[in-house]
Point group: C2
Chain length 396, copies 2
């Protein structure tokens, strides 16, 4: 007898990025493929100090089982933080749940809002972790093209009309992963109105919103949500630490009640030590100053990459993001993107082929995603230069 | 517009126990309802020390993203620990995955081995957290009666034959939750043979196996698994700390490969700080001595409860477990169990009605589950005495 894998999982493959990630320990490879925060960005001293105090003052709370909704003080602190960053985010009737990273918030929301055979609308390309979570729910993914100012409104309307079982739009309005594009203020309202009119809920994922380093703030779609159709996901992975696995969702309480039940089935609750550490950090740290430091760090890294691209990769088109971790590089049409990724790997530069991020991975895509948050400044400079040489060998 | 909850989650209710748990902060209530380890059992000093060292020596590893399979040194240490406790547990072709508690291992295994409409066989009664995870997979649950020496073999064979889409047996062989019963050595082989013959995979959940305080060790079903049909789940929740959320599964690699993909979609990876703390504890602590201390602690608490039951609850029947956290108390037939639970609550003793643990929650059940690990010795003595008075008021 052999174990038979379920249909829901049989076709699922490991994320190409998580696989590439396994090679990232090799220091000779320039890591443009991942999505890690810069190790320089971790507030090590503060977290070390907080951790010491937790074990001194409150060890049993940190080590015992806790409630599924999340450590109560963190729920309050996270809500205050999120509403401080996005005034008007929480509406009457909303609540908050602490999740094991925003990934879990996305997974739980999809489970609670869709059944097998339903359609989830998403940006095309979009975040692979979310797309894979949706795939395990056995839903149909309908991709909508992304323009320079975010998701195409016409494309969204067409997709809604073409998919009568469209239940949910998954969208990353700020410095989208993988394109780096930001949804304009006007389009946010239009997206909201369109979804409301057609009975489509919105899953707004905002992992990079606190890392804007140029341009001006555009309010979250959730702030426009007078009717209670938006589930907003945030995370401390990019601004405190991803290893701690602490994210959250702010949404109408009726949805959160079901997400709590789904979370009980998934992991009972998020690591309490992580939750207390994040809570104390939010309460005791100068968050404005901390975020400003991070924004400065990533502004510098992004500029360096853009500068290198202009010098060495002028044959490609690329986005210039106003925040976040990524830029999106469209190679000249003549270039076979998989051959390019392979050649880049041989030149010791890890990049991810754009097709990885497509709802339909078999569709043509000549882009690659470049990450500027994880590599050092020197790796960015050298890596882009090497990437330019690789491209030159393809396009003479 | 109102958000429409998916069919898969619409009928799901919060676990009665997790709800009761919310009241457990009230120190005047005797906590027989939960399943918490004793706070005295936490190795606070050691974990405090380990945590300090991690932040000193290895902060970036603890704070950064990690691989989904689990922190490599912990995977090795957990495998060694589990195989030391259960010689012959790992077979050639097996691997290990670190999960966010055993709950996640159960959830992932069910996702990877069953589709909507399949049947999962389970003990009747069984662990509510697992049953609820299965319910969100929209499978049919087929309960099999539990006898004094574990699951009924005839009942299992009947259930397999009655359910052609039976894909998986979920079973807790040691000090079962909620009954406290242990599956005999002979029955383990018979259960394995029966499942193998009928093409049913086995999900063996062993959260309490390290907490045997009387009788002698019975090897895990996984040790009998010559054909690769068993997924074995373990956890550090009961012997180190549940708040850290670290469990594991040992299973054929082909299954683990899919569980890794499912875990990527669920929470990317388990909190790294938790994983390193568990790893260092396994590597640096005298585990035999630590477990012996815990066994002694729980032997004392169990004896105290059994003694109280004999004195004050002689009108009820109850199991005398050889380990674990629970005993199962069957009330006289004349007693309305829900009225008893309510009256107990009014007498400030929290117990869980047995129906909570049934695959079919509407079936009749006159039992309650009693937890002896969390309450203090004094709470056990007082609580059982009070419970006896409550019962006396029902049965004169």
């Amino acid at each position: 007898m052999e174990l038979t894998i379920s249909q829901r999982m049989a076709a699922m493959q490991p994320s190409a990025i998580r696989e590439i990630f396994k090679n990232m320990a090799d220091p000779s490879i320039v890591p443009f493929a991942g999505g890690n925060p810069s190790p320089e960005a971790f507030p090590v001293k503060e977290l070390q100090n907080i951790s010491r105090i937790v074990f001194e003052n409150n060890p049993v709370t940190a080590l015992q089982y806790s409630v599924t909704e999340g450590y109560p003080q963190l729920r309050e602190a996270a809500k205050q933080f999120a509403n401080g960053r996005e005034p008007g985010l929480s509406h009457p009737g909303d609540g908050i749940i602490i999740t094991s990273g925003a990934q879990q918030a996305i997974d739980l929301a999809a489970k609670c809002l869709t059944d097998e055979g339903d359609t989830i609308l998403c940006e095309d390309p979009s975040f692979i972790g979310a797309l894979n979570a949706f795939r395990t729910c056995r839903v149909h993914l309908a991709g909508v093209p992304v323009e320079a100012d975010g998701i195409s409104l016409q494309g969204l309307e067409d997709a809604i009309k073409a998919n009568p079982r469209a239940k949910l739009l998954y969208i990353i309005p700020n410095f989208q992963n993988p394109t780096g594009v930001t949804l304009s203020r006007e389009k946010r309202q239009a997206v909201y109105d369109l979804c409301l009119r057609h009975g489509v809920a919105i899953l707004e994922d905002n992992p990079y919103g606190d890392l804007r380093f140029s341009g001006s703030h555009v309010p979250a779609i959730k702030t426009l949500d007078t009717q209670g159709i938006v589930c907003y996901c945030g995370t401390f992975s990019k601004i405190i630490s991803p290893g701690l696995r602490v994210g959250y969702a702010i949404a109408p309480q009726a949805l959160l009640d079901k997400m709590v039940v789904a979370k009980q089935c998934s992991d009972v609750h998020t690591t309490v030590l992580s939750q207390i550490i994040c809570c104390q950090f939010l309460q005791s740290c100068n968050m404005a100053g901390h975020l400003s430091t991070l924004q400065k760090l990533y502004r510098g890294k992004c500029s360096l990459m853009v500068q290198g691209m202009r010098q060495h990769m002028a044959k490609a088109e690329f986005t210039v993001p106003e925040g976040g971790f990524f830029l999106w590089c469209v190679l000249p049409k003549a270039v076979d993107p998989m051959a390019f990724v392979k050649a880049a790997g041989e030149a010791k530069v890890a990049v991810v082929p754009g097709s990885t991020f497509l709802p339909d991975e078999t569709a043509p895509c000549t882009a690659v995603r470049l990450n500027f948050s994880a590599p050092s400044n020197q790796q960015i400079t050298n890596g882009i230069e090497r990437l330019g040489k690789v491209l030159d060998a393809f396009v003479r």
